[in-house]
């Protein structure tokens, strides 16, 4: 359930709930999203947006920690890994994350 997409807060436009909102950037696209649920988020922070509302602020430290952990888990590289596809000029998204 619950298509949620990470986006970066470009700027706050309104601070007071329930109308609290700001401009959020998703890849090449910007949209005004409600920010009433992430009062602590600063401009430049990433949030998960679901149905036009940011539901949580993303924690870059946690994300970095997880990636480091995963990378250390996966070393040394597995020799028979599936082929890595050719690098595209602009990759298609996984449009269907929910």
């Amino acid at each position: 359930m619950c298509l949620g997409v990470p986006g970066r807060i470009v700027r706050w436009l309104e601070r007071e709930p329930p109308l609290a909102c700001g401009e959020v950037e998703f890849d090449g696209t910007r949209r005004i999203c409600n920010l009433a649920c992430v009062p602590e988020a600063a401009e430049g922070d990433y949030v998960i947006v679901h149905a036009g509302v940011a539901i949580t602020r993303l924690d870059a430290d946690e994300a970095g920690k997880l990636l480091d952990e995963l990378r250390s888990l996966c070393e040394p590289p597995i020799p028979d890994a599936p082929p890595v596809p050719d690098e595209p000029p602009s990759p298609r998204p996984n449009a269907d994350r929910v």
Binding site: C2, C37, V53, T56, A63, L73, C74
Partner: protein, 391 residues
């Protein structure tokens, strides 16, 4: 860090798949609760890739699928009333009730509009003061803060022509209901990451203590799902059961306080019917007393009031909202007769073994939740056949 591509790294995914294979000494049965996770697992072929070591049971976590047919019928009845526009998420419009979908109702003259956000429906109400705008509010706790904000905005803006047909459902009571079914054979859960982003996961600790099943809070990107599966398999292999958070960038133990406050201000838990599962105690959310003015049913817009002639103009509806007593949401929905969706959802019954599979029940004319959504177990089998085991 863009929080997307880093978590789709094919080399990391390949490494995790290898780790899962090394860890598993037998084939484990794991349920991903969330339909979004199902979608991502199928899309990236993770279910097929790991089919030799993990049997994935697709849980009931698709909110449009579990919305009871009666609620859809109610929304359709609203869309046919003069002066009323029913709005909802696009995927909700395709799901059939007992007599067709909202899209079919629109074709037959009903006023139905797809919106991306409930807040757009508020804007629609603001721009069309002469029309009653009803938002058909479905979804789990991920979505409930957005619809709660919608009614808060409507009150803040002084809108009297916006209301909700609230059919929100709660995930954990549904998991509880599943676990309590006889023959439940799932060994561990991947918990829905975005629901946990709102609710946190402290709530799962007593659940795990009681049922001795690992619960792993998991995200949606391929490496998130693989990390969650690795954690679940690791716990199962070592015979422990605990709540683990593999989606730390989005989920805090205590959840999102601001979102919870907004949700709790507007909604309270109630017993609720789930399509294919029956009434689940505490399985839904309804508007609190203080917000009844924004309840489409309470306003007399509900299907049960359809025959009242005085409720056909917006003014009359407003008047009625003042004088009408609270109409409770009758739990009229039961599993559609003979549909064993519950057995499919607990992994007891394989879809092709169902007597209605492909006959009375197809993606175009579904009986139960798992056939409604493209990610439902029945629909996935119908389209693609059984997942092929790669050895």
């Amino acid at each position: 860090m863009r929080f997307v591509d880093e978590f789709r790294d094919p080399a990391l995914a390949a490494g995790l798949i290898e780790r899962i294979r090394q860890t598993a000494t037998r084939r484990w049965t794991v349920m991903e609760v969330c339909g979004g996770q199902t979608h991502s697992l199928l899309r990236h072929g993770i279910d097929a890739e790991l089919a030799d070591v993990i049997e994935l049971i697709h849980g009931p976590g698709c909110p449009v699928c579990v919305t009871p047919a009666e609620a859809i019928d109610e929304a359709i009845a609203l869309s046919r009333m003069p002066g009323v526009t029913v709005t909802s998420f696009g995927d909700m419009l395709r799901v059939p009730g007992s007599r067709g979908s909202l899209l079919a109702a629109r074709a037959a003259g009903g006023e139905v509009k797809a919106v991306y956000s409930p807040l757009e429906a508020v804007q629609l109400a603001r721009a069309n003061p002469a029309r009653q705008i009803v938002f058909f509010a479905v979804g789990f706790e991920t979505t409930a803060p957005a619809t709660a904000l919608a009614v808060q905005q409507a009150r803040h803006l002084g809108l009297s022509n916006f209301s909700l047909l609230a059919c929100h459902v709660r995930v954990r009571p549904a998991m509880e209901a599943l676990v309590q079914q006889a023959d439940f054979r799932v060994a561990g859960f991947l918990a829905a990451g975005h629901v946990c982003a709102v609710l946190g996961y402290a709530d799962y600790e007593p659940f795990v203590a009681r049922y001795r099943l690992p619960v792993v809070v998991t995200g949606f990107e391929p490496t998130d799902l693989l990390e969650g599966l690795l954690e679940a398999v690791g716990q199962l292999e070592s015979g422990v059961a605990r709540v683990a958070n593999c989606y730390g960038r989005s989920v805090r133990r205590e959840g999102n306080a601001a979102a919870l406050a907004i949700m709790d201000a507007v909604y309270e838990p109630c017993d609720s019917p789930w399509r294919g599962l029956g009434v689940i105690p505490g399985g839904g959310l309804r508007l609190r007393e203080a917000w009844m003015a924004f309840d489409a049913r309470h306003r007399g817009l509900g299907a049960r009031h359809e025959r009242l002639p005085e409720a056909t103009t917006p003014e009359a509806m407003m008047l009625e909202s003042i004088v009408k007593p609270v109409v409770s949401v009758a739990a009229t929905s039961l599993p559609i007769a003979d549909c064993p969706a519950g057995d499919v959802l607990i992994g007891k019954l394989k879809p092709p073994a169902c007597p209605h599979f492909g006959g009375r029940c197809t993606p175009d004319m579904p009986l139960g939740a798992p056939m409604v959504s493209a990610e439902g177990a029945c629909a996935a089998y119908y389209r693609y056949g059984p997942p092929r085991v790669s050895v």
